[in-house]
Amino acid sequence: MIVEPDSDNAQSQLRSRATQFAENIRSLISRTVESDVEPFDVDLMKPQKDTDRLLASLQSNPKPQIALVSSDVDDAVFSFEIRFDMFVEKFLTVQSSRIAVGLLGSDEPLLRYEYIRHPDSVPSAHLHVHAHRDQFLHGMMLSTSGRPKQRLRKLTQGKLPYLSQIHFPLGGPRLRPGIEDVLEMLIREFGVKQKADAVEYLAQSRAEWRRLQLRALLARNHSDALDYLRSEGYTVTPPGWTPAVTAPEDPAVAQW
């Protein structure tokens, strides 16, 4: 087993950044809902010799599902499974993530919230619902083009379509929901047992997440920010340099 020397300060910092991110998520779950959440598994790899970049994959533990306790039966009923794949550089950049909610004892989840930073033909942030309704499947195969056509072709090969194959879009890369939203949904809609002041804590954490996303939006859409401030009567002085990316070219704004 090869372990990089700790004397490499930059690398050590990147390692700390990734493990701290994992600990923050564990801590958020532990602080807000009754669960058996344990420290996440963190896998780190240095892709090349001369690079200040680490690749990190974080997965929830144990089994790999986290058991959540229901308020009514006071017993573990729901499962929660989390995965983040990231580039760790000056900033953490999530490349893909998955939050799956299910019932303990059942392998197939009820819901999956997923994010893919550079998707091929699906929304970058999307929801999968593992449920069934005949009319839905009928609607999924009505057209003779695109994915319905593919589904029909697969049906002739014995592969059934499922509602869970649909990617329901969730606001694109910048406006996607955070883990706080899923946790609050579990508390409010499924009666998962919450800890003291959980909803307030989630709101505070959500605000931090959204401010981060808002800053990322502003950083790449200067002209929108300037237009708004000027419309409110502010006088804005340009910094003397041209921003690298200006609206409306920011692709993340248009991405589904």
Binding site: M1, I2, V3, E4, D6, Q11, R15, A18, T19, D41, V42, D43, L44, M45, K46, P47, Q48, T51, R53, L54, L55, S57, Q59, P62, K63, P64, R83, D85, F87, Q95, S96, D107, E108, P109
Partner: protein, 70 residues
């Protein structure tokens, strides 16, 4: 402290995990897609997915590097 693995170490770990299933690689992925793996197997498969991400991203990084040099 979490160790930082090399490319070769990640490849080895992934392959060792896959071998532990004692079935063809395609079959493992198909069972995972259909939620047909047992609990312990799912935990192992999740590790394989993590290693897949590390390996595919390392390849993407390398391509970026070559592109920059070219």
């Amino acid at each position: 402290m979490t160790e930082i693995l090399t490319l070769d170490e990640v490849k080895k770990r992934r392959n060792d995990l896959l071998k532990s299933f004692e079935m063809p690689e395609d079959k493992v992925y198909e069972l995972a897609r259909n939620y047909s793996l047992r609990s312990q197997e799912r935990a192992r498969f999740q590790k394989i997915e993590a290693y897949d991400f590390l390996l595919s991203s390392a390849a993407a990084s390398e391509n970026e590097e070559h592109h920059a040099i070219a």
